[in-house]
């Protein structure tokens, strides 16, 4: 167990170093820099030189990289060049809204996606199956920004059930949940469509296997076959997709965040890239990468609990 944890930490460190290094050099490879961004229309040669010197951008890139690494291992990810605030503060401030959206969205996705997929598989070829798969096709095909606007027009404007602004900075758990409901539903249903399709095909595959046929021949009740014998096997690929999608929605729910005016990690990193706010990008990439790596580790452990065969390796 200790060895396993040590291996995980080692992997985490290597992955983070690699990702941050790529981000560091990619940001410096694209045209434009923070000094140009800030001086913009009023740039003069002298002002640019002065600002670049103040920001340390006049040093050779490898030297900048060294300074960055040295500070990063001490836990200092620098200050945003635009706002002067610690980069990590702004990034960490955008983690809770992203995590809340991802968790709520994923809960909705699982609650709708898995049962619908099972029902479609059990009733393969029936009207229910066709209906569920048509819905799933719609969920995958309609872009979330369009579904989002339609949802706002329907649930917020016409019915008055939820606020049009999908976030609030005012305190209060229930207030926050009320604002979160609609964006979580839009994100969740688009993911539910994937999960329903995947659950259906995984279930169909398992239901066609020999051990299920044997169980049926032995007279095991159908309910037990579906929910106990087949589902447990079918869940492994579904779990993999849930994990990947969760990590994806932490950083990439930008469109949902934009439509519902929510802050979030994806939006913050995008803003930082556009402003060439190097420190903010690096801090954001680091936090996002750490979240993804940790999530995958947790998923690996979860597989083992579901599938005993994995435990023996």
């Amino acid at each position: 167990m200790v060895g396993h944890v040590a291996r995980c930490v080692g992997q985490l460190a290597v992955a983070l170093l690699g990702i941050v290094t790529v981000a560091f050099f990619l940001m410096r490879a694209i045209p434009g820099d923070p000094a140009l961004y800030m001086l913009g229309d009023f740039a003069t040669t002298e002002a640019l030189a002065a600002l670049r010197a103040r920001l340390g951008l006049d040093l050779p890139v490898w030297q900048q990289y060294g300074v960055f690494l040295l500070r990063a291992v001490q836990g200092d990810l620098g200050t945003s060049v635009v706002t002067g605030e610690p980069a990590l503060r702004e990034i960490l401030a955008s983690v809770p809204p992203s995590a809340a959206l991802a968790v709520a969205g994923m809960a909705i996705a699982v609650v709708f996606g898995v049962p619908l997929g099972i029902i479609a598989a059990v009733r393969q070829g029936s009207a229910v199956d066709v209906g569920v798969m048509l819905l799933a096709l719609g969920g995958i095909s309609f872009p979330v920004f369009w579904v989002g606007i339609v949802a706002i027009l329907t649930f917020s404007h016409a019915l008055g059930l939820f606020p049009a602004l999908g976030a609030t900075s005012e305190p209060g758990f229930w207030k926050g949940l009320h604002h979160l409901a609609l964006p979580a539903l839009v994100l969740g249903l688009s993911v539910a469509a994937y999960i329903a399709r995947l659950t259906r095909s995984a279930m169909l595959e398992v239901l066609g296997q020999d051990h299920i046929r044997v169980a049926r021949a032995m007279g095991v009740p159908e309910r037990r076959i579906v929910w106990k014998l087949a589902l447990r096997n079918a869940l492994i690929p579904v779990l993999a997709v849930i994990g990947v999608t969760f990590a994806w929605s932490l950083g990439n729910a930008i469109l949902v965040e934009a439509v519902f005016s929510r802050p979030g990690l994806g939006s913050t990193i995008l803003k930082a890239i556009l402003a060439r706010d190097y420190q903010l990008v690096q801090a954001g990439v680091l936090v996002l990468a750490a979240a993804v790596v940790l999530l995958n580790t947790a998923l690996d452990l979860l597989y083992a609990t579901i599938d005993p065969r994995l435990r023996q390796r």
Partner: protein, 509 residues
Amino acid sequence: MGRRGMLAAGAGLGLGGAFGSPVLAQGARTLRVRFGADVSQLDPARIFQNENQSVASHIYSGLVQYDQATNAIVPDLAASHEVSADGTAWTFRLRPGVTWHKNFGALTSDDVKFSLDRVLDPATGSLYRGQLASVREVQAPDPMTVRIVLNEANSGFLHKLCAFNQGWIVSRRAVTEIGERYSMNPIGTGPFVFDRWTPGSDVRLTANPDYFAGASTLTDVVFRIVRDETAAAIALENRELDVFYALQSPDVIERLRRAGGVTVLDRPANNTVNLVLNTTVGPLRDVRVRRAMAHAMNRKALVDGFFRGTKFEATSVLTSTFQEFTEEDVPRYAFDPARARALLREAGAPNFRFEITTVGLNPFDRFPVALANDLQQVGIQATVRVLERGAYVQARSSGNVQSCVTAVVGPPDPDSPLVTLYHTRSHPPGLNTSRYDRADDLLAEAARAPDLVARKAAYARLLRQTMEDLPVIPLYADRLFIAHGPTVQGFVQNSLFTVNVSPVSLRGA
């Protein structure tokens, strides 16, 4: 803001129970304003972007200010001012009893001197150092008097001191004590006090009960970031927002005009959007080619068709909001493809490759396509190159662009667009990517002019000359739209690209 927030804000301001209780008893009167983008920088020496300037305009004051409705220059922190006979020494008497937010003490002339010296100091890296180029020295002979000595007379000098960008006055003590983090922890003397910034979500200000010109009837203002215009429109209709700032989409403008209880305001803005031609390369060196291009582009169709009437046609880089604006004898270039072809033939450049560089932001990424199409109709092989903002600024500041779509935004100071686009001081990395060099003398003459009449005459000459030489083709003049809900009263729209809700009150709240 909830009760707890009010208490926190009260405590932050160091206010005793004597003030706190009556406000709580009346309940919060919070005004919610939509922003399209987040804020990032509230230090006047380094401030840029409309959202930042909008927030700062509630926090800071200047020695003088633009009247929001008329653009006339009226007193702010200075109760009065006088100019020496030779026009080089400006003396300002400060209003007594003005205090800084959050217990940073009383305003003195030393703060004014500190603010201006700070912008002038090259080490500050201020964007606006050039704006104060005519200043020789700032003196503080006594705590209530500021004396500014200029290198030479400048009748337009008050524009540089108006409450905007470099004109906003900061506290020496606050800037020194807060240090590196001042940018997002600003201290001013204005009607609202900075409370907190939630990145990606909102900025909150609380009313300054000690504001020298009378406290606001609002308790606080929230600038809420709502990126999508349709979502913002629905939020306004749902009463989740009170003011919709930066309204641009013709569709959303139409929608809100039909919505019940919503008032849509519009006003000509100070800014124009232009095609800046590099006059040092290829056929663009020939003025006939530049004029041919102006005749080839159907700018009326752009305004009426693409923008569905939400912009104005521009006749120069000054708009009607400037006191110095004139159209008299300023050459115009009507849409006339035949004339364009004739001019091109005359110049010996019947067809050539031409590239328009523009920025990948709505609407700048789309409308140039229509202009390129117009140019192709007269034989110019025009293409559009759309660059992401950082790459666009890099390309523009390198000066290696054949032409560039450039928007100029600023206060109603004619030097703002004219120096920025035509002065040699603004050659790349500045905005004068045409590398035009015939305006310096006329701009200096306008600055030296003793009064408004003489100034107007000097600027008129400059407008005529620049529209004849045509290093810059004005494409359209901007028009600002703002919408507000039924409870908002006393809203005044300015011609800057900012929103200021200081005079607003809420009805029935």
